[in-house]
Symmetry: none
DNA sequence: CATGAATGAGTTTTCATTCAT
DNA sequence: GATGAATGAAAACTCATTCAT
């Protein structure tokens, strides 16, 4: 039992070390010894807890996705959507997405990194596809509550919103903060969505 | 003079070889010998024409951006925007972007790759920033012709459009073709933009 | 006393695990964890019962040699050589050697493995030398009973026989069973020996 | 052309370095850097000329087998078997095999090493099988010239002879030179063969 | 200019061994 | 005694780069 706990903590520690490493180097450029150094453990340990470098990556991606799905779930748990009108709902959801996701630079960078890896790695691509499918489905079901239109429309709008948010997140990784009036763009987009729904 | 020409052709040949390589491997995973093999030249010459692997990358990025800017310039050259109404303009521009950019899977993949490299490479980030700045400015100036509103609004809409397109391009790299109703999402987005302008 | 017994059983268990491992991997390629896994014990205990990997090997070799010497001793125990004529003796001894030693593929493989290790390991070489010396002496003494000739001749014939058997065992490890008419070769050799003695 | 020559020489140099290394360490224990050190080249070179460690081994085995087949071919070239009687032929062939093969300790050691590798490596096993098949066929055809008996008998005798020689070679690797009266055993065996044919 | 041989730093991975619990 | 986490040395292999020819 205690053993199991230690194992989980070590793994967590290693995944967080990878997270730190990815702030300054790509996954490929990050060596197993780099991760070990940041985690403060011997590099052999990484091969004790993981089957190899790719295994670390795969579990890291699960961890990142899980982390943000948990964040969203917890946020949703504090809200009772049935009490909200269209406007309040849009404001709430944009508030959350903008601050926690789109404008979260570290997160955006991590996702660009994962996205790139997914180009050449089917397992990673699968994970990414599932995560986005999940997100699209969730948003669609939320949007559906506020429109009389058919579900196809809700889905369509949700996909557009996510695409837009992703694009904005992408921009945030290359433009200096403040050099693009991100906040204003997001605000206006929010208004449009409100009009559309 | 002739020599210069030959040199340019050799370089072009090498950059196109890199382009081919990037369809199946990341830049990091692509070795200089890989590029040389595809280009049909000895790997030594790559060090003659370029100062190193990073130099190839940098020049490749210029080449890609230049290529697509040329495409857009040429396309623009065939149009006289002053003859178009708002609707026709939107249809034209969406037609071009959708088919040549957003739904061009190879291009999207290349851009994801470049975007990822830009995370850890300031020179690449610079190039990317300039390219997008340029694109935003161009689109803004085109949009401005069709609205009475201030330029800030045109810029805002343009950025949103590009963000959306980028997001959709991103999706196209992970979802199987046809599994996401991309075409329909793009069509509806086009309609909304038409209403907004 | 009981403790001692448990210890001996544990060791036996480990040596047998090594024997199993050697069917599919060389000693070098067999890791201590492999042996532990097959033995169904924690790899740490291997270092408790043995001083290191080489110690396991050394004790394993003793165990293998001891095992086959015991087999031969037991087999001899059931026979009263004084009742046999030359022909019967040769038939008996060839029957035993052929079936239990020369054509025992697993044993042959193990011996090739040990023989190779002995090339670079004096301790192993010693064990092997003693085992073969012992075998040669035993066979010589048996052969002596049936010939009037001097002992040198008996020794000479015995060595030849063992060399031949070893060579045949060697062949059995590379030729598919049946592809070399091993049985017939052994039969004819037996005949010749009969004529010689 | 000159390039090709250099390549062949380098490869030869490396294979001979491996040969030297195998005098004191097993192939597994011999690292690529060991071979490189003995060959007096950078270890990277080994990966330039060979696809990997196994490739070196495979080419080395070809080289060893080729070397001894050439030796035998050249030796045969100097003899006109048709001029020999049974006795002279046996004397000649035993003279060659004993001195150049069976009592060549380095060669015997190399073959024990290769034999062990063949236990776990099908490609090596194939090479060994072919070499011995070849040898058996050659010897059979030589023996056939001197007997009226059928070919099956010639083949049978040849296999027995090779098995015996191999066994003796094996012994030479563990017994101190002179401790086993190898020469006498070989002489007597030769006599017997003469009687048999 | 072109070639390809050579270099050496760096990467992932394996594993015998140690040792705290 | 038993466990399994941790260590660190060493292995095979890759590859950008250099440079003599």
């Amino acid at each position: 039992m205690a053993r199991k706990r230690v194992q989980e903590e070590r793994k967590q520690q290693i995944l967080e070390a990878l997270n730190t490493c990815l702030q300054e180097k790509s996954f490929q450029q990050t060596s197993i010894k780099d991760i070990a150094r940041v985690a403060g453990v011997n590099h052999g340990v990484l091969h004790y807890y993981f089957t190899g470098k790719e295994d670390i990556l795969l579990q890291y991606i699960d961890y990142v996705i899980e982390y943000y799905q948990t964040q969203m779930r917890e946020w949703l748990g504090t809200k009772d959507l049935s009490l909200y009108g269209k406007k309040e709902f849009i404001e709430e959801i944009f508030g959350f997405i903008n601050n926690r996701i789109t404008l979260n630079l570290n997160l955006s960078r991590i996702f660009v990194e994962i996205w790139e890896i997914s180009l050449y790695n089917a397992a990673v691509r699968d994970k990414l596809r599932h995560a986005y499918r999940h997100w699209m489905t969730e948003l669609t079901s939320m949007v559906s509550r506020f429109i009389d239109d058919d579900d196809a429309f809700a889905s369509n709008v949700s996909i557009s919103m996510i695409a837009f948010w992703e694009g904005m997140a992408l921009f945030s990784t290359i433009f200096e903060p403040g050099s693009l009036d991100t906040v204003e763009v997001l605000r206006r987009f929010q208004e449009r969505i409100l009009e559309i729904l």
